[in-house]
């Protein structure tokens, strides 16, 4: 195992990656903006790793007309532990930077990738759940719908725009930093 040590530069890049992961938790990961004729300024649902922000109560108030469940921290148990997962990921990345074992780096990259896929899956599951699980007693009946993770969608008088938050961009940058040592310390 001795020969598979990462270079010092790679180690620094990994440390920087850990830093970016930590930084990401202070920014939103994803958000959806609702526009309507009466709301030209847009209503926001902003998802942080540990909380929801934006005009949640107003969006919920409006969504009850179509029988959609409330967006709330209770409906997103992920928000209770996502923050710790991200911190854990940062710690593991930092440990990899310190221990500088290439095998460990593979592990981190794999873990990062799995978490990324899980994240996307979780979000699309939530969107599907909210869009298709409408209360049949709702005053306004509309066909079930699934808003996309990115891009816009039209429901009744609302146009929604979904987009990644800065936090996610930080994670993407962190992931790129993880990949660089693979190239840099490739077998010579």
């Amino acid at each position: 195992m001795k020969g598979k040590k990462l270079s010092l530069v790679s180690s620094l890049l990994l440390a920087l990656s850990a830093l970016l992961i930590v930084a990401s938790v202070f920014f939103p990961y994803w958000k959806m903006v609702f526009f309507a004729p009466q709301y030209p300024e847009g209503l926001n649902i902003i998802v942080f790793p540990n909380k929801l922000e934006g005009e949640i109560d107003i969006v919920n108030g409006l969504n009850h007309y179509i029988g959609m469940e409330n967006f709330s921290a209770e409906n997103f148990p992920e928000l209770n532990y996502l923050l710790y997962i991200m911190i854990g990921l940062a710690v593991i990345t930092l440990l990899t930077a310190i221990i500088r074992k290439k095998a460990m780096l593979y592990g981190v990259i794999g873990l990062f990738g799995i978490l990324g896929i899980l994240g996307v899956y979780d979000l699309s599951r939530a969107l599907k759940k909210f869009g298709t699980n409408l209360d049949p007693m709702a005053p306004i009946k509309i066909d079930p719908f699934v808003p996309p993770i990115l891009g816009h969608n039209t429901v009744a008088n609302f146009v929604t725009e979904s987009m990644l938050g800065y936090g996610t961009y930080f994670l993407i940058a962190a992931f790129i930093l993880l990949l660089i040592p693979l190239w840099k310390d490739r077998k010579r």
Partner: protein, 622 residues
């Protein structure tokens, strides 16, 4: 060696991180301002959708008891704010707070509005107004455009000569139009000169507690006090007001109060009066600290002036005060500096009721008499210190230079202007640009609505030669108005949550009905599009009480969203209140009528507003 790959990737990652951290993604705004001097009259008053007026106009509503809010220059009516009269549209005078403010009165005569000031300039925090009809004063909060307090002013009957505030809103003074005996007691009019008084009140406003309070009063002679203004800058400790009926006539004032060639301007130093009160130089009458000028000497002087003047206005630099003659066809410019000198040298020509009279010649600077200008009433100022005086009888505005007396410009208005108001035109720093003539007679100006006519407000562009460029009908009756730069007013759109308010209910499952003997307290929620009075009930939107119960409904609007106001009315119970976004409002009444009464939201709130209903059931006593 492909060393550049990691370097480039690292840089890329760095740039991505830096960009999203520091870059400004907000759309760049492009503020293109059309050049003003090329605009037509129509373009000057046209404010397209999406843009807003530059100024607010607060026009007094006279005997409607209301305040009218307009935008300038569009002259669009934006809102009517009830002040001294109940208003079912906003539930004013129906909910507990405003019902208490109303007292037992059903109307008021809102005369002269005045903004709170800091250093002699409007600060955009409060608007004060007086009620000539029932002798009250009110304070309106400009975060919400709602009245916070109303005070009954004792010993005074009809504070027409108000309100004017001192430079830093230390006091709002309320001199009166009608003289009455102290305490409004019964006294024969034959004893008018001995027993009647024109009591002036010094009112303070506590901005933390939203409370008006009478600090002290002055038992001035039994004359009519017409209009007033506070000094500015070097004259900041002083104030002036006009008088008529110094003849002390008690009947047919039209004739009998117009006999003497001269009436007076009362010049007083409020800092000195304040000190006299602090030193105990007052008598306690009817629970008020009352200064009797014949007994507690100092601080008050009389300046002779051509008979029956209306307005008296202090120039923006605080150096002069200008009396408008009304019955004398001239304006008189007086000098504060000369007045102070005369006071110092005791150049008195006598006294009335123990108050020294200054010599006219030693205070007067010039008399200004524009040709054929009749009935000068009130003066405003522009950014260059030029004066604009309304001529009631000759129906025009005359622009003139207070420093030379030269007439500079004049423009006819339709018809009979009482006051006019210029943009921040009574502050230390007027804006110029706009002047609005508040005309008493609209006559043939608008489509006819029968014998009762609206009043008329005419917008005059004073940036160059004066020109009337817009005319707006207005409900009776603007006596005076204030124009304030729009950006000075910072409103809120939603009432913030107040967790300390025990009457508020923010969580739906906490909506409840509590009974205590024959008192029923409803802690309810109004939200798009339902009422929740009792979250656990089979029908949460129903209130059921027994006949004779005292009912308190504490309703919270939990839509914390701009312009989502709910109303609450019960059929046949003659009540309606408004709950603004985030607000908790209480209504209190006795369920004296047994029966079934639908209740509903009166303020259109949502697509299902029509469904926002419930029932108020009153079980009959057997």
């Amino acid at each position: 060696m492909k060393k550049w790959v990691p370097i480039a990737s690292g840089l890329l990652a760095g740039f991505v991180a830096a960009t999203i951290t520091f870059a400004d993604f907000s759309k760049s705004t492009n503020n293109q301002v059309a050049s003003g001097n090329t605009k037509s009259d129509a373009e000057k008053v046209y404010v397209p959708f999406g843009e807003k007026d530059d100024y607010y106009l607060f026009a007094s509503g006279g005997h409607s008891g209301q305040m009218f809010i307009y935008g300038v220059p569009s002259m669009r009516h934006i809102r009517t704010v009830p002040v001294f009269s109940p208003d079912s549209a906003t539930g004013y005078g129906f909910d507990e707070h405003t019902k208490k403010l109303m007292g037992d009165y059903n109307w008021g005569d809102l005369h002269h509005p005045a903004f709170s000031e800091t250093n002699g300039d409007y600060d955009g925090k409060y608007m004060f107004a007086t009620d000539v009809g029932n002798s009250r004063a009110a304070a309106m909060d400009l975060e919400t455009f709602t009245v916070k307090d109303i005070i009954n002013v004792p010993n005074t009957s009809g504070p027409h000569c108000a309100a004017f505030v001192t430079e830093n809103t230390e006091y709002m003074f309320l001199p009166t139009r009608f003289a009455v005996p102290i305490g409004s007691e019964y006294k024969s009019l034959d004893e008018y000169s001995q027993q009647y008084r024109g009591v002036m009140s010094a009112v303070t406003f506590d901005q933390d507690k939203d409370k008006l309070n009478v600090a002290y009063q002055v038992a001035l002679p039994p004359w009519s006090y017409d209009l007033s203004d506070a000094g500015k800058k070097e004259s900041g400790d002083w104030a002036v007001m006009t008088t008529y009926n110094t003849e002390e006539a008690t009947t047919n004032l039209e004739i009998n109060a117009s006999q003497a060639d001269r009436d007076f301007i009362v010049l007083f130093n409020w800092k000195e009066l304040e000190k006299m009160v602090a030193d105990g130089q007052y008598d306690e009458v009817t629970g008020q600290k009352m200064i009797f000028p014949e007994k507690h000497k100092g601080g008050i002087y009389l300046v002779p002036v051509a008979k029956s003047p209306h307005g008296v206005d202090v120039t923006p630099d605080g150096k002069h005060f200008i009396a408008s003659g009304k019955l004398a066809p001239s304006m008189t410019v007086f000098s504060f500096e000369k007045a102070f000198e005369a006071v110092k040298n005791q150049e008195f020509s006598g006294e009335r009721n123990g108050i020294p009279i200054l010599k006219y010649e030693s205070v007067m600077e010039r008399e200004v008499n524009p040709e054929n200008a009749l009935g000068p009433l009130h003066t405003q100022f522009d950014d260059k210190g030029m004066a604009y005086t309304t001529m009631f009888i000759s129906s025009e505005i005359v622009k003139w230079d207070p420093k030379t007396g030269e007439t500079l410009d004049r423009v006819p208005v339709q018809y009979s202007p009482g006051h006019s108001v210029a943009a921040e035109g009574d502050t230390v720093a007027p804006d110029g640009k706009w002047l609005i003539a508040l005309n008493k007679i609209a006559k043939d100006s608008y489509l006819s609505v029968g014998p009762s006519h609206p009043e008329s407000m005419q917008l005059i562009d004073i940036s160059g030669k004066m020109k009337v460029i817009q005319s707006s009908p207005v409900n009776p009756e603007p006596h005076y108005a204030q124009i304030i730069k729009a950006d000075k007013i910072k409103t809120i759109e939603v009432y913030p949550k107040d967790e300390n308010n025990k009457l508020a209910t923010y969580k739906q499952d906490e909506a409840r009905i509590e009974r205590n003997g024959n008192e029923v307290h409803v802690y309810g929620i109004a939200m798009r599009s339902k009422f929740i009075f009792d979250a656990k009930a089979k029908r949460p939107d129903v209130i059921e009480v027994n006949q004779g119960d005292k009912v308190f409904i504490h309703l919270t609007n939990t839509d914390f969203d701009e312009d989502i106001t709910h109303g609450f009315a019960i059929n046949q119970y003659d009540l309606n209140i408004e709950v603004q976004p985030g607000q908790t409002n209480t209504i209190e009444f006795t369920a004296d009528k047994a029966g079934t009464f639908p209740l509903y939201c009166t303020n259109f709130c949502s697509a299902l507003h029509q469904e926002m209903t419930g029932y108020f059931l009153v079980k009959p006593k057997n």
